[in-house]
Amino acid sequence: ATSWDMPTPYGDRTFHTVNIRAFADDVSERTGGDLTINVHSNGSLIGHAEIKNSVRRGIVPSGELIMSRLANENAIFDVDSVPFLASNYDEAWALWQASKEVITEELAKQRIRLLFAVPWPPQGLYSQKELNDVSDLRNLKIRAYNLASERLSQLVHAVPTQIEVPDIPTAFSTGRVDAMMTSPATGADTKAWDYLSHFNHTQLWIPKNMVIVNEQAFSRLSPEVQQAVLDAAEAAEKRGWEMSQAETQSAIQVLKDNGIQVSEPSEALSSALKESGDIMTQEWLERAGAQGQAILQRYAAQ
């Protein structure tokens, strides 16, 4: 029997971790205990930044990470963080189908096999005041945590501000930041109502987490076990996408129940943001080159 360690960055209550634990149980059931996966949540074994490299180097056979973290390596990894390229689950699924092959190939160059990817709920805008128009964003200090959020803030004349995750509550309550882009799930998990009042369900983009394995470790498994892992992965992906959609609904409800003003984007705000989104799609294409072109063509064809 083989035993795999699988480091994941997020806490036990995040639906991604719940899904991955279910995947691990599924694998050991399908293989009759021939392969067991020990999930180490919370970055307790390996920090988020080191997970991909640790899998590539065979320090651990498998792991989970957010895909757009690899954007500095190759722009195709943050195709899911281009504003409004895909802003609902159907579009996100279509984009994932269109980009899967290129991303899988790119990872294969590093001897990494991509098992499955599960989206976070769509990113929205949290703030301490109502946002009706793009002029409301002017001079607002918006938390920038990746290229997309930084660039989008610049395009709407806001001030991109870097705040590390643990510092978010203090930063809001002391006025170092006025708004942030994240999912309803993260807002509900971190009890955003303690420090802010409004959530705009803008559906900017839908980033994904991916579960990867070291190709060599995978090839050492017997063909039956390999197939069982792939089947379990397929099931986990399906389950994960459903969980994510359910999570969006329940998290928004939690936000409402705790007194956060939840609103849909106004026509004015939407169209202004979409303009910025178009600019960013072009910029992304320049960075992603031929691979990016291929993804977008395939996406448009769907």
């Binding site: 036990d12 074994l45 640790s54 303690d194």
Partner: protein, 432 residues
């Protein structure tokens, strides 16, 4: 697993006992754990883990605070502070020793770590208090104990780690830490009063009583110190700096103060900076070793299996807390606090929730128990810092800190009997 635990414990005692440097002992232990009991490529894991443990943003506050302490130590600031305070403390039993407790409490409101609090305060108060003839053991003990407040009084790195791991509100946990922090300060102060009353001959003689006007006049020397504390805390709550960045603000402010004092020369600046390099390298390397050992514990799953074993007993809430306290104290002897929290929460949480224990309360409980681990040998970061400062042996320092260990245990019992101490503020906050 029993074999693994025995081997590792024995190895640790052999390495440390034979005088191997603490950081190397931890590295060696991690190496044995991974290479002998798992199939992980140990060398690559070691380099990768030490790399990832060494570049965290939150950690940058540590060398900054240490540097600040070194600068203040070389200016007249610390001496001035005591001269200004002394006339007011004449009648309180324990007199200037209380500055250790209160000073650490104040500094804890700036720094999120116990080692930084210990290094900064110790650099300032140790030489002054020793010179004034206070009992050395008590000085060291007070410092070791009070510096742990850095973890409980917000901001706190470990409360953030707990909040992130368990999806609790960081703001609420910070609120919840306030009263228990004040409770511990009071317990420590009360102990000093008791001790001075019990051993009056071991407290230096009081200075001659001086008139009130003179007292006030001497207090002007407190102004720079107050300005520093207000400046650093103010930069956080005024929205100018994050708690991590506040450490750098502290360095700049102390440089300005030292300059206005005339104590800032090129020599003193370079001495202070190299002094900070020495202390922070020492701590950083031990942290790296501790991180690797933590990874080894994660791969071998000793802590999580022990926690799972406790879960099988289905204990009543009070029994569960008693057993967990014992478990954390033992784990805390060998691992640093954050590692214990990270390695065990997955298993611990369902069991704690099933027992009907409030998670905010549990977070504070956990931090106090982890505070205790900072002063238990063989692996206790405050002990290492104080050994660096005084040159005394860590067992001597641990012995000096023992009363404070028991005071914190008393604190744990108090918050168990009166959970309102913890829950009052966060509940008031949610009823807002």
């Amino acid at each position: 697993m029993l074999l693994m635990m025995i081997v590792l414990t024995l190895a640790l005692f052999i390495f440390l006992g034979s005088g191997v440097w603490v950081a190397f002992s931890l590295l060696a232990l991690g190496w044995i754990g991974i290479s002998q009991f798992t199939s992980i490529p140990v060398g690559d894991m070691m380099a990768s883990d030490i790399w990832s443990a060494s570049y965290s943003w939150e950690l940058t506050a540590l060398p900054m605070f240490i540097w600040m302490g070194e600068i203040l130590f070389r200016s007249r600031l610390a001496e001035d502070m005591f001269t200004g305070l002394a006339p007011w403390m004449q009648r309180i039993p324990g007199r200037l020793l209380h500055t250790n407790v209160v000073g650490c409490g104040l500094f804890a409101a700036v720094s999120g770590s116990s080692a930084a609090t210990c290094a900064t305060m110790g650099k300032m108060t140790l030489p002054e208090l020793t010179r004034r003839g206070y009992d050395e053991r008590l000085i060291i003990g007070t410092l070791a104990g009070s510096a742990t407040l850095g973890l409980l009084i917000p901001p706190s790195i470990i409360l953030i780690v707990f909040a992130v791991a368990t999806d609790q509100s960081i703001a609420r946990l910070f609120m919840a830490g306030v009263f228990p922090g004040l409770m511990l300060i009071s317990l420590f102060a009360a102990y000093l009063v008791y001790w001075s009353w019990r051993y009056p001959d071991r407290v230096p003689a009081a200075d001659a009583e001086i008139p009130f006007k003179e007292k006030l006049y001497r207090s002007r020397r407190l102004i720079p110190m107050m300005a520093l504390i207000i400046g650093v805390i103010g930069s956080i709550y005024g929205g100018l700096a994050s708690p991590t960045e506040a450490a750098a603000v502290g360095v700049v402010l102390s440089l300005i103060l030292a300059y206005t004092n005339g104590a800032l020369t090129w020599q003193s600046f370079s001495d202070a900076t190299l002094g900070a390099v020495k202390t922070s390298c020492m701590i950083a390397f031990i942290l790296a070793g501790a991180s690797f050992l933590t990874a080894a514990m994660g791969f071998t799953q000793i802590p999580s299996q022990l926690a799972a074993w406790i879960a099988t007993y289905d204990l009543s809430p009070f029994m569960l807390l008693a057993v967990l306290t014992l478990f954390f104290i033992i784990m805390g002897c060998f691992l640093d606090g954050i590692s214990v929290v990270v390695l065990t929460t997955s298993i611990m949480l369902p069991m704690v929730e099933a027992a009907g224990i409030d998670l905010i309360w549990f977070g504070i409980y956990l931090v106090i128990v982890v505070e205790m681990s900072q002063i238990t040998p063989p692996v206790g970061f405050n002990l290492f810092v104080l050994q660096g400062l005084t040159g005394k042996n860590i067992l001597q320092i641990a012995y000096a800190a023992l009363p404070f260990f028991f005071l914190m245990l008393l604190g744990v019992i108090l918050i168990t009997l009166f959970p309102q101490i913890v829950t009052f503020l966060p509940e008031a906050m949610s009823n807002r």
